[in-house]
């Protein structure tokens, strides 16, 4: 990046629970106190709902922009899986680390990256978080310890172990959270990384986002043992399976895993059982080829946004007006991101040759 173009700053973390103590395992219900006083619990639930709405509305605009040709290449939407990113990021400290796969828009936004710079990156603009050189699959933000956006299935899992190694090397108490799909549990990089993470006691939380399809291949057609948490046992690691459409179930499990990583310096493998409501990428229909419309519709009944909304309604925490306001705010931010990206310049041709190598030594 040239210094002339200023990136949008990251949004400050405003989640009251971001640095809170995590309570021991409890029922994942709205009654779950999450270690917080009652007023903060309500505030936390609203923040989680806001985060999920923002991811959802943002990505709906991504789909629209893709159809208009404003976004090119591969574009993998996260819609349906937002409780995982919202729940996880709400527990991280600013100095913790995140490494993820190519389905990274939701996580980037939940971590606090500016929707403007994310959309600008998708539009291939100079103001994008990676200067327009990475695109959808390669979102990075050093200021937020958001370490990408990686495009080869499973290849970033050892990188997360490496971040864990660096934390251990320096004697820090940060954690590294690594997201990947369930199809990645069959690739060597995953196994090599888990083995070293457990062997060396590295503070990493490995999160399998099991949306049940590796591209168009159902887990039952690809994985001999569909209980992917058993992979943890192979490496003497704690493993758990979570209903990831419930953001509080996500928070409970991730909270405990983070605690283990910070205090015991041990890694955890979490299976987040979820479902993606869109196709694998923009060229893939949501249903009709490898999964039925009925299956899709059945799973959409457990939309993570709906699940949280209903719980908040039941608890009297979400008057109708509030919901509309949260939704409207998300739409405004998504529109603003679109406008910002649309009017941002393309990278100058001189950028073609920048960032291939650095000319420094240390």
């Amino acid at each position: 990046m040239t210094d002339a173009i200023k990136r949008e700053p990251a949004r400050p973390a405003k989640n009251p629970a971001a640095t809170a103590q995590v309570a021991p395992r409890e029922e994942a219900t709205p009654a779950s106190n999450n270690g917080l006083p009652p007023d903060d619990q309500v505030a936390l639930r609203k923040e989680l709902l806001k985060s999920m709405f923002l991811q959802r509305r943002f990505e709906e605009r991504c789909a629209e922009a893709y159809a208009l040709g404003k976004i090119g290449g591969f574009c993998h939407l996260y819609i349906g899986q937002e409780a995982i990113s919202a729940g996880t990021m709400s527990l991280l400290r600013p100095d913790d680390y995140v490494v993820t796969s190519y389905r990274d828009h939701g996580q980037a936004i939940a971590r606090g990256m500016s929707p403007r710079t994310v959309m600008a990156e998708l539009f291939g603009r100079q103001t994008g978080c990676s200067g327009g050189k990475g695109g959808s699959m390669h979102l990075f933000d050093k200021s937020l310890n958001f370490l990408g956006g990686h495009g080869i299935v499973g290849s970033h899992v050892p990188l997360a172990a490496g971040v864990g190694w660096a934390i251990k090397y320096r004697g820090g108490d940060q954690v590294c959270v690594c997201f990947f799909g369930e199809a990645a549990v069959n690739i060597g990089a995953f196994h090599e990384a888990l083995n070293m993470a457990s062997l060396w006691k590295l503070p990493v939380v490995f999160i399998i986002e099991n949306n049940r399809y590796g591209m168009g291949t159902a887990i039952s057609r690809a994985t001999a043992n569909e209980d992917v948490t058993t992979r943890a046992a192979a490496y003497k690691m704690h493993g758990e399976s979570i209903d990831a459409q419930d953001v509080f179930a996500v928070r409970d499990a991730v909270g405990r895993a983070i605690q283990l990583a910070r205090t015991e310096k041990t890694p955890t493998l979490l299976e987040m059982r979820t479902y993606r409501f869109m196709g694998h990428s923009m060229s893939d229909a949501a249903s009709g080829t490898y999964r039925t419309k009925e299956e899709l519709e059945e799973n959409m009944k457990r939309d993570p946004i709906l699940v949280l909304r209903e719980k908040m309604h039941a608890a009297g925490e979400l008057p109708e007006g509030d919901l509309a306001k949260i939704d409207e705010e998300a739409k405004v931010i998504a529109q603003d991101a679109w406008d910002y990206a649309d009017k941002s310049p393309e990278p100058p041709l001189s950028e073609l040759w920048e960032d291939v190598v650095v000319d420094t030594t240390s």
Binding site: G134, S155, V157, V163, A166, V358, T360, S362
Partner: protein, 326 residues
Amino acid sequence: MAVLTYRDALNQALREELIRDDRVFLMGEEVAQYNGAYKVSKGLLDEFGPMRIVDTPITELGFAGVGIGSAMVGLRPIIEFMTWNFALLAIDQVVNSAAKMLYMSGGQFPMPMVFRGPNGSALQLSAQHSQAWESWLAHIPGLKVVTPATPADAKGLLKSAIRDDNPVVFLEGEMLYNTRGEVPDGEYTIPLGKADLKREGDACTIVAHGKMALLAMQVADTLAKEGIAVDVVDLRTVRPMDVETIAISVRKTNRAVVLEEGWEICGVGAQVVDFIQRECFDDLDSPVLRVHQEDVPMPYAKNLEKAAKPDAAKAIAAVKKVMYLA
């Protein structure tokens, strides 16, 4: 100046850089307790401890990735592959992660790290353990590829590689570890991307790198007895390539032979010849010839292996041919 083996020169470079910068650590198979499969890391575990000299499982892809992750957050790993033949298991990490991270993050994540280990054939190790990978690796933008030929170059180049803020592929000659030569004591670095004129003459230019630079010097000494004085340009760094030094030499000699350990097709020599024909077309008195491994997997039988490898006789024949002496 002390006379050291290539192995001890590398060890000295590692030791000095481990002392100089506590972000530097060495990770790989058998590097610590075993003192290195080729003893390059001998004594380092005792001096620096197990956090800085790290034994790994046999899991090249995995520990290459661990190095990359640690470099993303500010450490300066040296990843040792027991040989580059095994590094093929890690090629995804070297190419897709290390080489491209800076670019695809828009300059946010430099990769200050070294991937090092022995490269090229030894003796009768047969097909899977006898190959030179530099043309594969030099193909990739974002990597630097270093191939030291002598103990002094090994030390000076490794120290520079460790200090470089880019991912550096450091290819040591498997047959060079026991070779000896004078090595400057203490602080001694050689800039990456600078070739070295190892012999001077005006009859022909021999361009070589790594182990083949030694062969080129041997050929130069033999030819000198016949009154033929040749330039030997040791590239030292294959990428970036010091094309200026090649051009200066070829403009003087008007003839060139390119010597390499790898195979012919798309080899390093093809790149050198491409450069020479574009930049020195009017200076040439004859076509540029290449000497390389025969286009076959490395055989085991001693006689077949010898026939497959580039050697002095093939190089001398090539020089004489470009001089129209044969």
